[in-house]
């Protein structure tokens, strides 16, 4: 499982420059932002509190990227929608996967569109 996610991560990195081709409509990005705030921001927001430690997702990614990339997901410019969706449904390390009763497929598409909105 980890290998699969890592592989998609590499693909996401390589394909980052074409992310903008699949531009989402503004309504979808707004809906995605709303669901991101509800489901994801409680761990992944950019709050500087205690170096982000109170936001375990941000703390973990800060430690992983050591300043090369933002720890807060909404600030990333290298996330592509397929990768975001994979992590939502399959989890990563201590982050568990999310069921469709929590984040429906449509809501997942919206969140992915929001997080991929700045992909370069």
């Amino acid at each position: 499982m980890k290998k699969t996610i890592a592989a998609v991560g590499i693909v996401a990195g390589l394909c980052g420059t074409v992310g903008g081709v699949f531009a989402a409509e503004p309504g979808q990005i707004a809906r995605g932002q709303e669901k991101y705030e509800y489901w994801c921001a409680t761990c992944h927001a950019g709050d500087p509190r205690e170096g982000g430690r109170y936001l375990p997702g941000t703390a973990s990614l800060n430690a992983k990227y050591k300043g090369d990339r933002p720890g807060a997901l909404a600030d990333r410019t290298d996330l592509l929608a397929p990768y975001v969706k994979l992590v939502i449904r399959r989890g990563m390390e201590a982050m568990p996967f999310f069921r469709k009763t929590e984040i429906s497929d449509t809501e997942m598409e919206d969140i992915a569109a929001y997080l991929a909105r700045n992909a370069k």
Binding site: T42, R49, L55, A63, P96, F97, R99, T101, E102
Partner: protein, 540 residues
């Protein structure tokens, strides 16, 4: 993972049941694909990847109590077990996976309404899919001057957490979430809707205020159990206090912990300091790691050795952060009394880190305070597992072990040595320490944690070792009279078996109830050791 059918149920019977479930909730809300069912695995399971990992055969997600009833009738018709979950975030204790493989998970997440919050009478009524975040946002959006009491992860369900005997962080009478519940609606295993306590009275006016109604009080049957599906539940809430005050008591000697605990118990029981008392030691921590290991090199240190070590280090052996809620003048007087009382009794006690704040916290204060002590749900606890400097190899999860101990220093010392003894006996890496304080989630008992038993989704052999360690903790602590207050599904039979007074009469009583209430044995077989007759293991 390949889909496992319940033993004794054919594929065609299962398919017929699934079709009927689809007619009740719509095909979008019945999940049978391998990909969907993977999200119903227990993400933190120490059985992950093992042949006896608990797996669902399907999941069904109703939107209403009537749909829950219809699902229960279908399960009875086909004798297929159901396993209800609330928000499914009971991580470390089973997550969204069933306790009996092949069960159909009854996912109640879509039933997520806050039905009522009464500010004047300080109670709430919610559905199982409602999370602590949802309830907190509801109260905040309406500007109600009430606090909720939440556990560490804010995405959990007040109902699910209380039914697991979960615990929290504010004032004494609210931290025990089961103790603070009042009134429930239950769908019975035969599909009837029942209301408990005053809810049984048509036109009741105090369903969420007076627990008992009349006659036998049955609410306890629905916690850590398999006697019904709770579809509504009430909770008492705490009025927002005018202010919060904290101060830390420091004591020099390791053995000072014994009188310190006695005084803090008095302060809490006499309702002088009703906030959570947070114990810690100045002698623990990574900076002392090598010295602590040296202390335990050959055997567990004696009290005299620990006192000598504390004296040598010259830092307080123990600290307790006391917390007070109430009008500023009142809590100031209470804190002064606490200082006077402890200063008289424990030579060398010092008092530091005073702080008083009007409530609610400002946005800036929220960034610097332990939010759960203010009834504000968050996810900070997960930072303990996340990758960070000093944590080279983040784990995929863990299963918690917290033993219920008497509130005495002596019991704490005994529990700390039990962790050491268990780890030594099994030859696992030594993470025991004489400097772990008790956890004060419950106001009448200490919960003593063993260092988390980790899980790795890509390492079944590692998980196998962790299962052995966890079971050893259950056995050893239960033998000492300190059983865990809850456990992951894999250890529920073992834990239930420890409650063996008079030839396991309690479990036999529960089984007799199970047979009467759930004749087809369709609801959560095996949960906390209670099996329906047809699946019951034979006892020696």
């Amino acid at each position: 993972m390949p889909i496992k059918l319940p033993p004794g149920i054919s594929a065609s019977t299962h398919a017929s049941a699934v079709k009927e479930l689809q007619r009740v909730v719509g095909s979008d809300w019945v999940f049978t694909s391998e990909e969907d069912l993977d999200t119903y695995r227990d993400a933190y399971s120490i059985r992950w990847g093992h042949e006896d990992e608990y797996l669902a055969s399907a999941a069904v997600a109703p939107k209403s109590v009537e749909e829950v009833q219809a699902i229960v009738r279908i399960a009875n018709k086909y004798k297929i077990p159901l396993y209800p979950i609330s928000t499914g975030k009971n991580l470390t204790y089973g997550g969204s996976a069933p306790t009996y493989s092949g069960s159909i998970v009854l996912d109640l997440k879509r039933m997520n309404r806050v039905l009522e919050v009464d500010e004047k009478r300080a109670f709430a009524l919610v559905e199982p899919g409602c999370s602590y975040f949802d309830l907190y946002r509801y109260v905040k959006d309406k500007g109600l001057k009430l606090w909720i009491d939440c556990p560490d992860p804010g995405w959990g369900s007040p109902i699910g957490n209380a039914l697991e005997h979960g615990v929290g962080y504010t004032a004494s009478q609210f931290r025990d979430h089961w103790g603070a519940h009042c009134g429930m609606e239950v769908v019975t295993p035969t599909g009837e809707i029942m209301r408990t306590g005053m809810g049984a009275l048509p036109g009741a006016k105090t369903w969420q205020e007076y627990k008992y109604g009349v006659g036998p009080h049955v609410d306890g049957l629905f916690a850590q159990s398999n006697f019904g599906i709770v579809t509504k539940m009430g909770f008492w809430l705490m009025p927002q206090p005018e202010a919060w005050l904290t101060g830390t008591v420091n004591v020099p000697k390791y053995s000072d912990f014994i009188p310190l605990v006695d005084h803090c118990n008095y302060l809490e029981d006499a309702m002088i300091a009703t906030g959570q008392a947070i114990y810690s030691s100045g002698l623990g921590g990574p900076q002392n790691g090598a010295e602590v290991q040296a202390l335990m090199a050959n055997r567990y240190p004696t009290l005299a050795e620990l006192d000598a070590y504390a004296e040598k280090k010259g830092v307080p052996a123990w600290r307790v952060k006391l917390q007070f809620y109430g009008p500023p003048e009142v809590i100031q007087a209470r804190w002064e009394y606490a200082q006077e009382r402890i200063a008289k009794a424990i030579p060398g006690a010092t008092f530091t880190n005073f702080e008083t704040l009007p409530m609610p916290l400002t946005e800036a204060q929220e960034k610097t305070h332990h939010l759960v002590n203010f009834g504000i749900p968050n996810m900070a606890i997960f930072a303990g597992m996340a990758r960070e400097p000093g944590v080279a190899d983040p784990k995929d999860g863990h299963t918690d072990f917290f033993a219920v101990c008497p509130r005495t220093g002596e019991a704490v010392f005994k529990a700390l040595k039990l962790v050491y003894d268990t780890q030594k006996e099994l030859g696992v890496p030594l993470t025991a320490s004489p400097f772990r304080g008790p956890v004060t989630w419950h106001h009448k008992c200490f919960f003593m944690g063993a260092p988390p038993v980790d899980s790795q989704r890509n390492d079944p052999a590692f998980n196998r070792r962790m299962r052995t360690l966890y079971d050893a903790y259950v056995k050893k602590f239960s033998d000492a009279g300190f059983p865990p207050y809850r456990t992951n599904p894999g250890a529920q039979d073992l834990l239930a078996a420890q409650f063996s007074f008079n030839d396991n009469v309690l479990l036999r009583f529960q089984e007799a109830l199970k047979d009467g209430i759930d004749p087809n044995g369709i609801l959560s077989p095996g949960r906390y050791g209670v099996w329906p007759k047809r699946l019951r293991p034979k006892r020696a």
